[in-house]
């Protein structure tokens, strides 16, 4: 079996509303263990585990922890980014709805190790169920003494609050998220300074994805070295994959890094509905690359995905079969980003509408070779010159399609009559 259930081991096995069932199934024992460890020791374990952020960018979690730990400030914030807005991703919702305490436990451990004083879970506005579950679970954890003053008899105090945005995609970007918690419109800030230096309310802040925090208790349990043995050298541990599109079994699957994409689609997803041919697969979500069927042997791995120059690490696999036209898909992607751009920087604000208009020319078979060049140039400028992760990754679908589906473009230019 290619699945490996480390952080999804309790999915369906416990009642997520019951803290007692969580405790019975190894819950909060890793917090207890962590509280008996030196703070630096915990960070060292995360470093040995080589845990990389599960939100998409794959930034080493231990470096962020060290960054926060070295800041001397009486207030230091820990934020769990649960603004899962990337189309095609739903694994954070699974984590919140099936095992909320695992996230809370992970946050408490990170806070303890780094000197965090207050936690926030920023939940996507549409995830009402996740929000109420988390609020319920935080209350339960407080009653049991896992949150609040003198946690588990230690000198450590920490509390968590659930916050939500109003449905803007860009609030998943760390500084836009921080602005949103502060009550401002979700628009990013200039870096540097980074959040661990000047973050929420101007205080040092560590932001991690839901899955990253969920992985922390497992690392404490098995130790960093053992954790790092799972997966590949550049990508350790397991990854939750959100599999969707034209596959038979859609859903969330936990696999060790290094599994070929094809195996996820065929072995876990059961292949394509009505055994149709795959036209393309989009990795990571709307901001990820679109690749052809012949590339599906590639393994799921941060290093391997680097060639796409994008944040593919969130783990979405969207399978699109032969009935669909690539330009229709690209237009949907571009119009999505046109709507979701925060409007702060020029390339992203003004660029997407032009990208969309260019793609429409290909749909209408009115495009020229010059349009291919313009599309490529504009997509690259948005990718390279935008201020935040949104504009830096939104053109990935177009850039990858120009690489792997160039014949489709040329066909549209050379055969206007086929429309």
């Amino acid at each position: 079996m290619i699945e490996m259930k480390l952080i999804s081991k309790r999915f369906g096995k416990i009642n997520p509303l019951s803290i007692d069932e969580y405790i019975k199934f190894d819950g909060y024992k890793n917090l207890k263990k962590a509280l008996s460890m030196e703070k630096t020791e915990i960070i060292e374990e995360v470093q040995k585990a080589y845990l990389r952020g599960r939100g998409g960018a794959g930034f080493p979690a231990a470096i962020k922890m060290m960054g926060l730990a070295k800041e001397a400030n009486k207030d230091k914030y820990i934020i769990c980014n649960a603004d899962e807005g990337e189309p095609g991703n739903f694994k954070d919702r699974y984590l919140m709805e099936n095992d909320p305490h695992q996230i809370i436990e992970g946050m408490i451990i990170v806070a303890y190790a780094t000197g965090g004083t207050k936690g926030f879970i920023y939940v996507r506005g549409e995830y009402q169920k996740s929000m109420s579950l988390l609020k319920w679970s935080i209350d339960e954890a407080k009653k049991k003494g896992f949150l609040g003053q003198k946690i588990m008899g230690s000198k450590f105090n920490f509390d968590i609050e659930v916050r939500s945005g109003a449905g803007s995609y860009v609030c998943g970007e760390e500084f836009a998220l921080i602005e949103s918690i502060e009550g401002n419109p979700g628009r990013t800030r200039v870096k540097p300074p980074f959040p661990t230096q000047v973050g929420l309310y101007g205080k040092p802040t560590l932001i991690n994805n839901v899955e990253t925090f969920s992985t922390i208790p497992t690392i404490i349990e098995m130790g960093g070295v053992n954790f790092a043995k799972i997966g590949t050298p550049s990508s350790t541990g397991t990854k939750l994959i959100s599999l969707s599109g034209n596959v038979k079994n859609k859903g969330v699957f936990e696999i060790p890094f290094g599994v070929p994409i094809k195996d996820v689609i065929y072995k876990l997803g059961g292949g394509i509905e009505k055994d149709r041919k795959i036209k393309m697969v989009q990795l990571g979500g709307a901001c990820g690359p679109i690749i052809p069927e012949y590339m599906l042997d590639m393994i799921i791995d941060f290093e391997r995905f680097e060639e796409f120059e994008s944040k593919t690490g969130a783990g979405a696999i969207i399978v699109i079969d032969e009935r669909f036209d690539i330009f229709t898909i690209l237009l949907k992607v571009v119009r999505f980003f046109q709507h979701e751009s925060c409007g702060k920087c020029t390339p992203c604000r003004e660029g997407h509408i032009q990208l969309g208009n260019l793609i429409e020319k290909f749909i209408e078979r009115k495009a020229t070779m010059q349009d291919i060049a313009s599309l490529e140039s504009l997509a690259r400028v948005i990718h390279q010159a935008s201020l935040c992760g949104l504009g830096q990754t939104s053109p990935t679908a177009i850039i990858s399609s120009l690489k792997y589906f160039r014949d489709d473009y040329i066909d549209r230019v050379e055969h206007p009559e086929r429309g």
Binding site: Q338, K344, P347, E350, I353
Partner: protein, 578 residues
């Protein structure tokens, strides 16, 4: 200071730690183009024009916001960088009203200039521009969203310099727009009309309401006797509008130019600045000796009055009841002047040239009327509008003769000249109040601690044996600090000067474009040079002011003074109450 070694365009350089790439390059004569960046403002890295290539980084980084680091290798002009910059400008132009020739900023627009320098000869992107309504609802400032490029400078100055938070960015993506609060028109419910937004706008999206046509019409109307007054801060800035060096003092040529434009009499607002000092100084002495409301706060700045009436209606009794010099002039111009000159007040048309956009609003206030049917000041022009008229007329400013102001509002003092700089009104008031109260001359007329660009300045003076503290604030965010003290009853001062604009009137919202702290300092220096060069430097020694009291007003704070030279304020905090 630690030095950082780096390479810019193959040149090895060394700069101080924390220097931005932009400033580092500039030090070595490499100007990286910018658009949203503005010296002295916080706004950075939004337009992305200043992107450069840094070796080892996949994306491009904005030079204005990225500090240099050891061993950095920067290329400011690679093909990738140039293409990005061109693309960004093309994108802006694709969503912009590009009727440049009819734009107020034609030939002085930062976007136009950028497009020219980058060699944009065609736009690869079709226009997606959709026309929106222009906001012309107030007498001071016009907002034309069709020209807005969403650079954020105006929002930054409104929020962070003034702390007024009237302008904000609403919407997202392609629908992003700069607008006034609640998407409403710019109205006196919120806006102080300081015009700092117009002053920093790189394009023509925010500008003063252009009233030059009204003036041309009056000047060509044979039934009108058209007089003009010029504010103290205009003579040290107008030169910039007509090709002179920053800070050039152009008083005499300015008077000549206005005579050529056709004004019947050219008067000096400095005269009523002196008059203000007499009235306001006596008001202060009256408040101090009769247990009146203290601290007293100055009243010459209309932006500040708008701010107080909307944000601090509970402290209005602290504000001097003196009208501003502009309005004191207006009241005299429609009463004393026609009487003296043998004219029907209805035929006298009064124009002001001010460094200010809020003055346009002030002139339209109902309290500012000797005759309730018409305003005392008929038209207010900004420094920029006067510059425009001089250019429209084709006047060769450089080669003009210097002419003096006309009488009876022409003789002025150094005390009035410094009204244009932050701290100037306070210094002028002290020069008079000290001598009136202590009945002996001041040893030194220069109050250096009240000069310069520091946000809040303090001084202590001895009045009749007691030391009293005074304070000066410029920008409304700094004014807020002093107002909060007054509101809380903890203000340690007897007298407070407040000016809305950074640097005072020399940095006013109607002043020539490109004003930054360096420019402000140059204008301030010229202002004090002017003061130092004058024979009379104290308002109470102005012989024409003395004559005005003898002939007409009789005494400071007298019955006629109250009628003509004093006013009252209103609680305008409606919106907040609702």
């Amino acid at each position: 200071m630690k030095m950082i070694n780096l390479t810019i365009n193959n040149v090895k350089v060394s700069v101080e730690q924390n220097t931005s790439i932009l400033k580092a390059a500039k030090k070595f004569s490499m100007n990286i183009p910018t658009l949203c960046y503005y010296e002295d403002l916080n706004i950075k890295s939004d337009c992305r024009i200043c992107v450069v290539e840094v070796e080892g980084k996949k994306g491009l980084v904005s030079a204005c916001s990225t500090p240099v680091s050891e061993g950095m290798v920067i290329n400011t002009n690679s093909p990738r960088v140039l293409n990005a910059r061109k693309t960004i400008v093309e994108l802006i132009l694709s969503n912009h009203d590009t009727n440049c020739t009819t734009c107020v900023k034609n030939m002085r627009c930062e976007l136009q200039n950028l497009a020219k320098n980058l060699g944009i000869n065609e736009n690869r992107f079709p226009s997606v521009f959709e026309k929106c309504e222009i906001d012309e609802s107030n007498p001071s400032i016009i907002r034309n969203p069709n020209l807005c490029i969403k650079c954020g400078r105006c929002v930054d100055v409104c929020n962070n310099v003034q702390g007024t938070s009237v302008l904000s960015i609403l919407g997202r993506g392609h629908e992003t727009r700069v607008t006034a609060v609640f998407d409403e028109a710019l109205s006196d419910d919120f806006c102080t009309f300081c015009g700092q937004c117009a002053s920093v706008c790189p394009v023509g999206a925010i500008r003063e309401k252009d009233d030059t046509d009204l003036v041309w019409k009056a000047l060509t109307d044979p039934t009108k006797h058209v007089i003009v007054q010029v504010a103290p801060a205009v003579r040290v800035s107008l030169g910039e509008e007509v090709g002179q060096k920053i800070g050039t003092i152009v008083t005499g040529k300015m008077v000549s130019a206005m005579k050529i434009l056709g004004f019947d009499q050219v008067f000096d607002t400095d005269f009523t600045a002196d008059l203000t000092i007499i009235e306001e100084g006596n008001e202060l002495i009256h408040r101090v000796t009769n247990g009146g409301v203290l601290p007293m706060m100055t009243s010459c700045c209309p932006g500040w009055i708008n701010y107080a009436e909307t944000r601090y209606p509970d402290i209005l009794d602290h504000i001097s009841s003196c009208k501003s010099p502009q309005q004191m002039f207006g009241a005299l111009a429609k009463s004393y002047y026609p009487k003296k000159a043998g004219l029907d007040p209805k035929d006298v048309f009064v124009v002001s040239v001010m460094p200010c956009t809020a003055k346009k609003y002030e002139a339209q206030r109902e309290e500012m009327r000797v005759d309730e049917n018409s305003p005392d000041i008929d038209v207010v022009l900004t420094t920029r509008e006067l510059g425009k008229m001089i250019k429209q007329m084709g006047i060769d400013f450089e080669n003009l003769d210097e002419k003096p102001f006309d009488s009876p509002f022409g003789i002025t003092t150094g005390a009035a000249a410094i009204f244009g700089a932050t701290g100037g009104v306070m210094e002028a008031a002290i020069r008079t109040v000290y001598e009136v109260v202590n009945k002996k001359p001041l040893e030194s007329l220069d109050f250096k601690e009240l000069r310069g660009l520091k946000g809040i300045k303090e001084a202590e003076i001895n009045l009749g044996g007691t030391n009293v503290k005074v304070a000066v604030a410029h920008t409304l965010s700094k004014a807020k600090i002093l107002c909060d003290q007054v509101r809380a009853g903890t203000s340690p001062y007897a007298f407070i000067e407040i000016m809305t604009c950074p640097g005072g009137c020399i940095g006013g919202g109607g002043q020539p474009y490109g004003t930054n702290n360096k420019v402000r300092q140059d204008r301030i220096d010229s202002t004090y040079r002017l003061d130092a060069s004058m024979k009379l430097r104290k308002s109470h020694e102005n012989p024409e002011v003395i004559a005005l009291y003898e002939d007409f007003l009789k005494e400071p704070l007298g019955k006629l003074s109250h009628h003509l030279l004093h006013t009252h304020y209103h609680d305008r905090n409606h919106k907040a109450k609702n």
